[in-house]
């Protein structure tokens, strides 16, 4: 009986019945799509605007993208597990408010309430889904409105400013010319990469997205993993809220409005499908850059602001059109 792994030199059959060469070539197109799109955007905008490809604009893009990146890293886990969170923009606002209310007394340590508030909001979402069995789309849609409502109730619509010197120094200054927020974003990216690719938790999240019933029957603590994953997203949104508040030097009731769409778009454009089971931090980073560059570049190139939404929406749909794996999702709803 042939048993040695390495000695089994038989061809791997192509179960889909598609010609192997074409299939793999198509895979390359899919995988390389986010990067190709990024390059295309950079080239296009560089031609359209001379100020686009400059170091100072590069830093602006990174700063603009950091809030999106931090939230999108958390969203990558949730989408990888086949769930969704529509409340991220509201959690960011809630965390920014917590930051603004405590920055004067806590200084840089205001990150603790920011993370705590974000994690608590995520915990509620996670428990609603995992224990209450409310579909995540609905649970977090309700949470989106409720969290935003809490912010409005507290602020009565008026901004809460952040004036603490030490706080602003820590979160908005630069070291070696690089804004601290960007450094924080990059560190979190490395951490998220490690969690997804190197931990048991990351594998369990992926297994839930790949086949939840299989995961349950194989003994994975699906409910617990889901809750942890929402808490992680909430905590990251907490940090995103703090960074956004620090940048604006205030928490406002409108802060983070519509952010959920950009976050989801960034993750999906980066190649993490909404169907779950697959997820890539590098892809999410590319998605964030694409979404951010698109806005930044269109502004630089003087594209009519009323046209910009049309372009953004089109890009999102095109990206999914190319990258979605239609073989895996028998029926597309």
């Amino acid at each position: 009986m042939e048993t040695n792994v390495t000695s089994i030199a038989t061809k791997t059959p192509n179960a889909t019945g598609e010609p192997g060469v074409n299939a793999s070539r198509f895979e390359v197109v899919k995988r390389g799509f986010p990067l190709a799109m990024l390059v295309l955007l950079i080239v296009t905008f560089s031609i359209a605007s001379p100020r686009f490809l400059t170091f100072s604009n590069f830093l602006i893009v990174l700063q603009q993208g950091t809030v999106l990146l931090v939230a999108a890293l958390g969203m990558t886990f949730v989408i990888m597990a086949g769930s969704i969170d529509l409340s991220v923009g509201s959690i960011v606002a809630l965390a920014a408010l917590a930051t603004a209310l405590t920055a004067d007394s806590l200084g840089a340590a205001a990150i603790i309430p920011a993370i705590a508030v974000g994690a608590a909001a995520g915990l509620v979402n996670g428990v609603l889904l995992a224990k209450g069995k409310v579909p995540s789309f609905i649970a977090t849609m309700g949470a989106m409105v409720v969290y935003r409502g809490i912010v409005l109730l507290f602020t009565r619509g008026a901004p809460v400013s952040i004036e603490d010197e030490q706080f602003l120094n820590v979160y908005t200054n630069r070291t070696l010319g690089i804004p601290h927020s960007v450094i924080i974003g990059l560190v979190l990216m490395v951490v998220a990469y490690g969690i997804i690719n190197r931990t048991v938790f990351g594998r369990e999240v992926r297994a839930i997205g790949g086949g939840e019933r299989v995961a349950i029957l194989t003994g994975i603590q699906v409910a617990r993993v889901k809750i942890y994953m929402y808490v992680l997203l909430g905590a990251l949104c907490g940090i995103a809220g703090l960074l956004q508040g620090a940048r604006a030097m205030a928490a406002t009731a409108q802060l983070g409005e519509g952010l959920e769409l950009d976050v989801i778009a960034a993750v999906v454009v980066g190649g993490t499908p909404l169907t779950g089971g697959v997820g890539s931090v590098v892809g999410t980073m590319l998605g964030v850059l694409i979404i951010t560059l698109l806005s930044n570049g269109m502004n630089m190139a003087g594209v009519d602001p009323y046209l910009q939404n049309i372009v953004k929406g089109t890009v999102l749909v095109c990206a999914v059109f190319v990258t979605i794996d239609r073989r895996k999702i028998g029926i597309i709803k």
């Binding site: 792994v5 192509n14 297994a207 003994g219």
Partner: protein, 494 residues
Amino acid sequence: MTLAASDLRKSYGQTRAVDGVSVVLRPGMVHAIVGENGAGKSTTLRMLAGAEPPDSGVMTLDEASYAPPSVVGAAALGVSLVYQEITINRSLTVAENIFIDRLRQFAGPLGFIDRRRMEAAARAILERIGAQIPVSADTGRLNLGELKCIEIARALSTNPKILLLDESTAYLDHREVQAVLRVISELKGQGMTVAFVSHHLDEVLAVADELTILKDGQYVGTYRTTEIEPNEIHRRMVGRELARSIYPPRPPGDPSKPVVFEACEVAVGRELGGVSLNVRAGEILGLAGLKGAGAEALFAAICGDLPLRGGSMTLAGSLYAPSSPTSAWGQGVAYLPGDRHNEGLIADFSILDNLVMARPPHHGPFFDRAAATAIAGDLIVQIGIKTQSVDSSCRSLSGGNLQKVVIGKCLAVQPRLLLLNNPTRGVDIGARTEIYRIVRQKAAQGLAVILSSEDMPELIGMSDRLLVLRQGQITHRIETAADATEHDIIGHMA
């Protein structure tokens, strides 16, 4: 109409499902296609019906070349298929189900469906096959046999000359089988050509005029049912030598071995009502029963997926009450579900990912890839999973190899109790033999196994002891499974 096919071939990946099968369906005859699981019966039928294109081979319909692009194309030419799976939508009425793809033809001038006309048409078809089902019946309350009759009515609603009937994957009980057989004879009386797939010889001999025997995807022969003895059919279907060698030899039972698992008056949901059993180390306990007779519910309770309604369980002498599958796996109970694709493994994941899913090796929170690779490599060798790399996607594997991965996933936790729910469903004969070998080998090393299967020869061939379940109760206990007969077991099942 005469439908003839010669030298049909069809492969899925490395598996040759059909390898040179020829069959001729003559007008007004009932033709049975028989063989064991994986013999290629359904695939042959599906090719005749246009559901799958053959890789090679020639098909003719009344001498004209016949290559239907789809089941719809075949139906237009007068060849209609009744699927293996029940495809009735339970939220629609009987009549709507029959005309589901042609509701438009009952549309009135305003576009609304003329219910009365549709129900009259449905009633006419049901009367034609002699099925006593009211067209306005709530489909949710019908039994499987009645649903099968509606499926047949749907196939007949396109006015075919040839009806192809795939065997039901769901176990029909005897009454339901009789109802379907009645329909077939009724149609035969009306001059319809019928081909059907079955592995129940009684059914075949009751209605068929001719039968074609397939074995391992190959054509064995075509016979008139009057000219061949049941024993002879069976011998040609199975191949006696094969039947002997496919199951590994049983070591003598050892009553001194410790009882690993014991259930005492266990009741689960509505399905299982108070069942007591035990299984010793090194023993394979077989569970026979129709679908819904209680084996699935028992497994769900043992693996922590469903709570007990009554009774108690012990594992290795101490009280066992798993609150979740996590707790069951943690205590050394591994479960191989009956539905490989939706419950057994994640096909998009690699072999390694699936093999170590239940208990991933780790240092603290970090996954230990080196250890996982070693575990996976070891399992691949032990079970004979045919692959080039532990990182290959399971999508590239055949059904038998996939099932070996699920078995590997179970064995990776070094369980003391292994629950096997139809472990060889849709698995080719080669992989079956290896699965039987590894299960028996693990049992010999002290593993306790409970095996539930719809495959009678497998139950008889693999089990040490056998229990027959009917409607949530044990109706028969067979202490020496080797002496059991299929007839005996089925008698207590239905």
